[in-house]
Symmetry: C2
Subunit: 385 residues, 2 copies
């Protein structure tokens, strides 16, 4: 089977190398913006790729929304299958692109868009063939996991660790979409779309990030044997769909607590199968490139678990998801609803609060109120063991 | 697609229920030995099933070698696909049955034979399509994991916990194949056959079980923050295949240390993908029954990653796998090779030894020498973190 890879950055070059390990996958074109002389198969001309009837699959490895969206759309309209690790694109255009693929009798696959090298979405789809998914949750951002794990291990400040992560290439120059939780939110949208046959808007999912966490928070957690992870969560509860992203503290016996460095772990709960968890590298050249090529091989071999959004779509409602929260907030806070608080300790600068069980919607509303002050709070859900 | 289920024990009844959650899978027959009046589709007549051309898949859920082997063989010879969770059968007859299936143009699938409800073998096969597997290892026996986890938690004796596990249905009346490691060895044979394109004999894999572990061992481990798990291990090293089963102690930050109760976790290391781990229920009615039906659906949808043993087969050689061991042995031991020992403490009854790094072959030979004394040693590999 002949394919084209769009883009030759980290993932594109990983996909090219991984294709070399597969039987019968030939990378005929690599679309680049500059210096197409480097490798014989490189071209700057996307029209050439679209017009070549031998090309059955286009692997979009450019990233971002534009021109990735236009390229993917054109490929589907030209009757070519598409594989992409692009979470920004799929999170925003899942319904649009899957329905366009359907109209053109081709498929669009994006296993590597949530979980990177982990065959998470593939197994989620496969599980659904004879099971009902009731819940999904996971650590899906390696950058945040690296930062949190390092802070737990050596007590350094958030900024110091972030700087080190940037040096190591685990965090980007502008890390905001990672540390503010936007990247995790997008993977939550994509995973929920598949798990619950829906098509969520990014705005449906409330998000708390880790950008305001401090060494003081970590030290509070360490003293209690708690480990903090940034989690995506989605699940059915009383006929509603809860879906949210927030830092979560686990006790030391939880599997999540031992997910170290920049690794990911993602879980499904099925009515029949119970808990299934998948651990691995959520990003990186070879893991993501390999996952892209695995999708290509699935297309070649007609392995197809595709699902789509139901007509009668379930809405997100986080009022039935209820648990305790940890909140750290300045001592000089005004108008804080202390009636929600069950336990309280303090340092000379901050209050460390444990709430009563409250709903996720209530908690995220509260966080939003204090987000824009000059000393914003840090807040994390508490996982009951 | 119409299928027959052979046997109506835990797995057979789970498979029947799981089939009800899948589209287009009809269980036309259930083969039982007694009382076929219970359910209309029940029959005592296997000839009827073999003769029925509508039956495309036979799901063997009887267990044991005989008559399961004869039934599976007959099904394959009648051009019917076979699905089975039967690890005893596959471990012993992998090459025989896969080649018979090939000759008859059908397939035999056994995802649930190692990992139960975990799609381990399925994902191992899928990973191999564009990656080289260098190592596999895992916790694959829920009974042993339940016993070890309980001993770590409450300090009880092996016999007390085993009794409790039997009451809860986590351990069988005769638990020897679990606690002596035979069950884990069989899953190691099957997983290695797939991972490394070979066909191991059960005798190729040296086995240390957990049947001689005591509360004293666990207390030694707990004091050092170590957690003991029964592990299968197989991997390529210097062109040789190491494959062995032994108790292993992990430090508290290892993922394996947090695999609680009767759960399983199995890992592959791929040259491209790195570490991928799969966690879930390794046994039980619905997890295993669902996994059986997932194999049936794969057959229905022609999803096929089948592999076979290479002609030029790699041999097992555990002389290049080297690590430290923990050994607990009676103080009155005679002729023990103390030159292998790096560290030693003692109680009034026993010696607690840490060896220098020694080869797995040397270690298992040593264990065998003391296995038949009236106070046998307990021995566990030490995983370097």
């Amino acid at each position: 089977m002949k394919i084209a890879i769009l883009g030759y950055g980290t993932v594109g070059s990983g996909a090219l190398e991984a294709a070399g390990h597969a039987d019968d996958i030939e990378v005929k074109y690599i679309l680049v913006r500059h210096d197409p002389e480097r490798i014989p198969s490189m071209t700057e001309d996307y029209g050439l790729i679209l017009a070549d009837e031998e090309i059955e699959v286009v692997a979009e490895c450019i990233g971002g929304i534009h021109p990735a969206y236009e390229y993917v759309k054109a490929a589907l309209e030209h009757g070519k299958h598409v594989v992409t690790p692009n979470k920004n694109l799929i999170s925003a255009y899942y319904e649009d692109l899957t329905s366009l693929a359907g109209k053109n009798g081709v498929s669009i696959r994006f296993t590597s868009s949530a979980g990177g090298g982990i065959p998470w979405l593939f197994n989620l789809r496969r599980a659904k063939r004879c099971d009902d998914i009731t819940e999904i949750f996971g650590i899906v951002n390696g950058t945040c996991n690296y930062i949190l794990d390092s802070m737990h291990r050596d007590g350094s400040s958030f900024d110091d660790i972030l700087g080190k992560a940037q040096e190591l290439g685990y965090a980007e120059a502008d890390p905001s979409s990672d540390i503010e939780g936007t990247d995790t939110m997008r993977k939550c949208v994509i995973s929920s779309d598949i798990a619950f046959d829906t098509a969520l808007d990014e705005e449906d999912i409330p998000v708390l990030g880790i950008d305001t966490i401090t060494a003081e928070d970590i030290s509070f957690f360490n003293a209690r044997g708690w480990t903090c992870k940034l989690m995506m969560n989605a699940g059915l509860s009383d006929g509603k769909l809860c879906a949210y992203v927030e830092p979560t503290v686990f006790d030391s016996s939880a599997l999540e607590s031992n997910v170290s460095a920049n690794n990911n772990m993602i879980t499904l709960i099925g009515s029949n199968i119970g808990r299934l968890s998948f651990f691995g590298q959520g990003a990186g050249m070879m893991p993501t490139g390999t996952s892209v090529i695995q999708d290509v091989i699935d297309i070649r071999d007609s392995i197809n678990f595709e699902s789509g959004a139901d007509e009668d779509r379930i809405e997100v409602d986080n009022s039935t998801a209820v648990h305790r929260y940890y909140i750290r907030i300045g001592r000089d806070v005004n108008g804080f609803p202390f009636d929600l608080i069950e336990d309280q300790t303090e340092s000379h600068k901050a209050l460390f609060l444990i709430t009563k069980p409250i709903s996720v919607s209530e908690a995220h509303m509260l966080a939003k109120e204090y987000a824009d002050t000059d000393k914003p709070l840090f807040m994390a859900g508490i996982k009951e063991s």
